[in-house]
Amino acid sequence: MAAMLSIEQLTVERGGNTVLDNISFEVTQGEVYALLGGNGAGKSTTLLTLLGFIEPVCGRATVNGIDVQNDTQAVRRQTAYLPEATNLYGHLSGRENVEYLLELAAVRPDRAALDAAFDQVRLAADARDSHMVTYSKGMRQKVAIASAILRQTPILLLDEPTSGLDPLAIEEFNAIVVDLASEGKTILMVTHDLYGACEVAQRVGILRHGRFVSEFDAAAEQHGGRVSADAVRQAFIEAAV
């Protein structure tokens, strides 16, 4: 299977500190890859580097075969990005926020498609046309997820996507991720939700101080095609110590 996301010997420095230290990994089409790690491990930096927001000091990152440094705009057209802090426009409704972001990405969904996406993320119908200032953090997150889904890009980069969601919403979100992967979407998600990650990801990588300390592959595990949450938890704790 072709690698949709590829990072080769990537090193990133910020403020004189090495944030990513010679890391390499690939994510293939239809695969969900979860990056775990403590605060400052370099998870979000990995996503931002793949989006071209951060320039590496060495190494190479490609998205669907496109070198990030060579054509950042083309890379961004291939990816939908869900940021950690869901900063949307408070003066717009959820629907208007999604419409605006999609139109900037040259996507023009009709009202039915928007409602279908909102249904998918279970955003209440009566909230969709209310201004975002009235939304809870979870509702804002759902709007951002709907926007990412509607981009219909082959690749999704999700930074803490379940942050702020209630347990039911997390479960629903995980189901959405599995659905998207089954449709052939490539998903790289950064999360602190260790159990959710093991539920949806085919592979889980643990970063510490910008380096991979462990990687788990569901295909190699004997847990019904899932990564063992216990094993990941153990590795995570060991990495943290």
Binding site: N87, H91, L92, L101, E103, L104
Partner: protein, 484 residues
């Protein structure tokens, strides 16, 4: 840069303003002030125009109504000319407000223009300065600042810029959209000015000059829009952008004109009126008194005439020697007065040019110079009025002096106080007063005004380039900071 994307960003900004109470109130108040300024100025200018036009006609009628009398009495009876405000004074009254608008023309003197509307309205306690020119040059940039200061800084502050860039929007597209949004606002602000321009055309102004003036104001607002978005792009926080822009507005809009006026005065100092008048008086002392034909200053004139007509006494001349002296003396005196007047006008022109050359320091200075010149309310227009008035004065005074020389005898003239019959014969028919030419100061056309205004226009284009460059570079720098 995809135009559709840029337009989409602009539309979003317009929607933000429509939902922002601050933007709506600011715009509402701003437009109200603009409309009030235009309406009050239009009424004032139209009233002034009508009054001065009527007074001019009345002054000419009064002159022509004078009964038969000695022509030199008519020289001293004099005449009034009025400076009518040009149609575009409804936008920029310019120097009209602070300089004299009426001049008394008489023999042997070049009087100053008197009665400035500013003085009159200041006495009445009216806020005479609230003109469309002032409002557009000073207030409109402030409106753009209040509405647009956060355009890019807000995105950065809220972190939405990263979300936008992640959609493949480029920094220049984002800057372009924000600049386009503010440019659209400039278009809205231009609507009242367009109405004022239409009114000016309807009252006799050339369409070309009006279009050029409105184009200048549109360019000026665009400069400020670019500065506002540019500073916003450079600022990491909205408050910093607002502070920076307010400082820029105070420096460029409020302080710079005063500083440049002082610099221009230093660069091309003008002589005070008192000193000039003393110099004129000193120079005229060496000239003869035109009322006294026996003045030694006219001895050579007398000798020349006697020789020319081959007679021994001035009583035998075929012309009235007193009239010839009056004509000769008036010409000599006018030459001297014109020389001093032209020196003064040249110094004023150099000072004005010096101020224009310094308008590189502030777009408001460049706009002000451009506006005055295209509206034909600048110093050159005042100078043109002064020269036209002097031409008119000299023509009717010399016309009367010529009548004095040719239409009565010298003997009657010198005996008119002692002899009633002589006095009667020295009264010339009132029909002669028709030599007075109707006063008219023609409006220069658009091309002539542009000849004077292009340096200021060039300065504004430079400012637009600076504003655009500042914004583009700021947007790219801002995007780089997002990345970092």
């Amino acid at each position: 840069m995809s135009r559709a994307i840029v337009l989409r960003v602009a539309r979003e900004e317009w929607r933000y303003w429509r939902r922002s109470r601050l933007a709506l109130v600011t715009l509402g108040v701003g437009l109200l002030i603009i409309l009030i300024a235009i309406a009050t100025t239009a009424v004032r200018v139209q009233t002034e125009h009508g009054a001065r036009h009527d007074m001019q006609a009345l002054a000419e009628a009064r002159f022509l109504e004078q009964p038969a009398r000695h022509p030199h009495r008519m020289v001293h009876y004099g005449h009034y000319v009025f400076r009518e405000p040009p149609p575009l004074a409804v936008i920029d009254p310019g120097v009209d407000a602070v300089t004299g608008t009426v001049m008394f023309l008489e023999g042997h003197r070049q009087n100053s223009a008197t009665f400035s509307p500013f003085f009159a309205t200041a006495l009445a306690g009216e806020f005479a300065n609230l003109t469309p020119a002032l409002v557009y040059q000073l207030l409109a940039p402030l409106l753009l600042i209040v509405v647009g200061f956060s355009s890019l800084a807000r995105e950065r502050e809220a972190g939405t810029d990263r979300l936008l860039y992640a959609t493949s929007l480029s920094p220049l597209q984002l800057w372009g959209g924000k600049a386009l949004a503010l440019t659209g606002l400039c278009g809205l602000l231009m609507v009242p000015l367009l109405l004022a321009g239409t009114y000016a055309v309807a009252t006799g102004e050339s369409g070309g000059a009006t279009a050029a003036l409105l184009g200048g104001y549109a360019l000026y607002l665009l400069i400020w829009a670019l500065i506002v978005v540019g500073v916003s792009a450079w600022s990491s926080r909205s408050a910093a952008a607002l502070l920076g822009l307010l400082v820029a507005w105070i420096v460029l809009g409020v302080l710079a004109p005063g500083v440049v006026a002082s610099l221009a005065e230093r660069q091309a100092p003008t002589q005070g009126k008192l000193r000039t008048d003393l110099e004129v008086a000193r120079t005229l002392r060496d000239e003869g008194d035109g009322h006294n034909a026996s003045d030694p200053a006219f001895a050579s004139l007398r000798a020349g005439l006697l020789s020319q007509y081959n007679v021994d006494k001035i009583e035998d001349l075929p012309v009235n020697f007193r009239g010839v002296v009056a004509e000769f003396a008036e010409a000599r005196l006018t030459d001297i007065l014109n020389r001093f007047a032209e020196q003064r006008l040249e110094l004023e022109r150099r000072q004005s040019d010096a101020a224009t050359s310094l308008s590189l320091l502030s777009p408001r200075l460049a706009m002000s110079a451009y506006s005055l010149r295209m509206a034909n309310t600048d110093l050159a227009q005042l100078h043109q009025f002064l020269r036209s008035a002097e031409d008119n004065r000299f023509a009717f005074v010399q016309g009367l002096n010529k009548l004095h020389a040719t239409d009565m005898s010298y003997v009657d003239d010198i005996n008119r106080s002692a002899n009633a019959e002589s006095e009667r014969r020295t009264r010339l028919n009132a029909e002669n007063w028709r030599l007075l030419e109707s006063f008219d100061a023609p409006l220069p056309d658009a091309a002539q005004r542009m000849d004077r205004a292009w340096p200021a226009l060039l300065m504004m284009l430079l400012w637009a380039a600076v504003g655009g460059g500042l914004g583009c570079y700021g947007a790219l720098r801002s995007a780089a900071r997002v990345n970092a």
